[in-house]
Amino acid sequence: MGRGAPAALAAAVTALVLAVGLAACGSGGGGEGGTVKLEGEPSGKLTISNWPLYIDSGKNGTVKEFEKATGIDVKYIEDVNDNEEFFGKVQPLLEQGESGGRSVFVVTDWMAKRMYDLGYLQDVDKAGIPNVEENLLPSLRHPGFDPERKFSVPWQSGMGGLVVRTDLAPEVRSICDLFDPKYKGKVDFLRELRETVPLVMTCEGVDPEEATEDDWMKAIEKVEAAVESGQIRHFTGNEYTRDLSSGDAVAAIGWSGDAVQLQAENPNIEFRMPEEGCSLWSDNMVIPVGAPNPTAAEAWMNYVYVPKNQAKIAEYVNYVTPVEGVKRIFEETEPELAESDLIFPSAEFTRDCFTQTQLTEEDEAPVTRAWNAVLNG
């Protein structure tokens, strides 16, 4: 080393000193929620983050109509692919009190609660959303995770179950069928812990709403065994739609509305209510801290709760609509949709379904760890 050594050593020491010194400057603190402050008439720009396949897009879509009606310039991004993944993306920003330009985004119940508890969300000002007050379905007014609906406004509800290629796997009718070796390597599962594992539990005869930590772990082990045997092709957010389209997967755990929109790709894709039952969930619009335009955000929420506007969305996405009055509209204009089990599920249709269970605080950590270990391969 000879001549090089002193220089190298000096460099290393400099680096170390710099590192230690700068480490003293920590990162900023997180934001506290607070309530949305409405300012005058809604105007300006609005950035919305939502899940894919969740709105009627296009030239005559809801976004364009909203822009026309209010003069607000909307940037609608479909970058919520998976709750945890989205959390991972925005958490560093929200921690600093920023939202990355977003004024509204849409996440599932349990994620909304987690974000709220961390101080990342603002309370909505109910004065700005009278339509929601008036038209929200009674069954959704006092959910467990947000009893006063302080920070969340439902976007759509839906069911997690089986999405199937009827031409390639016509006999798949229950979650247990997904473990049939006949379909080895052609089955996709959702990455969402609270979606997939309870469904797997039902295959074993356990009621997810009464499940113990042990039940969760056993179900996770079953999935792990399926990974090792090569049964499961991918764990996905929304990408299972791609695998089903191309035929690389023949059946997947997926979401009720997706199948309908996928039929444009391939008419052989269908949502099937599993024999064991499905999982019921809601996705919610929330306003993050640091939202640049909360006034416009509330105007958006208000707009989509007008039954006429909601009917347009419901017709396209085919998820369970949270707005009262849409069924009446469909009975006149689209009678088949009024009968659709996907948009207006009857009690009979969802008799075996369970609401997405909240993991208890003590179960959450070990179960999440175990699940992540399976996801990581």
Binding site: G4, Q96, E98, N238, R242
Partner: protein, 296 residues
Amino acid sequence: MRRGRSGGAPRGAWRWLREHAVNIVAALVVVYMLIPIAVILVFSFNDPAGKYNFTWVGFTLSHWGNAFGIPELNSALLTSLKLALLATVVSTAIGTLMAIALVRHRFHGRRAANLLIVVPMATPEIVMGASLLSFFIILGTPGLGFQTLLIAHVMFCISFVVVVVRSRLIGFDRNLEEAAQDLGATPLETFRLVTLPLIMPGVFGGALLAFALSIDDFVISNFNSGTTVTFPLYVYGAAQRGIPVEVNVIAMILFGVTVLAMGATVWQQRRAEKMSEVRPDQEAMPPVAIGAAEAA
């Protein structure tokens, strides 16, 4: 030499095969390398029914016509180009200076400097991206975005520029510089009027390499971009939802432009060599290897 067994034609054919086996394998490999490019090109003419561009449906030129019709794609592309341009300028300047120092001067710490240059090239990208992310997280500022991307890109480009310019400098004929100085030029003038123009091809090659690396970078950008979207990051996001055909079109355009740029470099190199009558060099590093080592 070995005598084969009896039998005329088959033996001849076998021998031909053996002699040309290497060439055949080489040809197959080349075809293999070009297959995906062909697929990307073909599918840029596809006319899919829905969102997914997997199966061939029908031929259309409409996506080529609409190449710049998707706003998010355009802004991602623009971001990538801006980033690559800035990163190239900065890293080429820094890298050229470093290369000159390393080749021309003896000084304490040469070994250490050498090491500092080589190690980043040998570090897995994920480690570089992750450590930079750790750095920015703990520091808190600047927020992840264009600035952090620029910092990261310059960082990984410097090493490559140094290596390319260095290889050009090594084959450089010092006599020219000495001649200039004998004729009264100051060291700075010599550098400006003699050295720099002659190493320009190397500098340009390094710049080209830096540009290519920056435009193509995915892993490090994925970790350090925050909400800024570069072209590869756009493709990554779109991969989950369905990649529009326009992405294939843009990829082919980028490809075409880079091919032309490379062709221009090669042409320019040959001209420079002929004009200055420097010994034809052996350029050892990719991708500037093309053109320099001529037998004639």
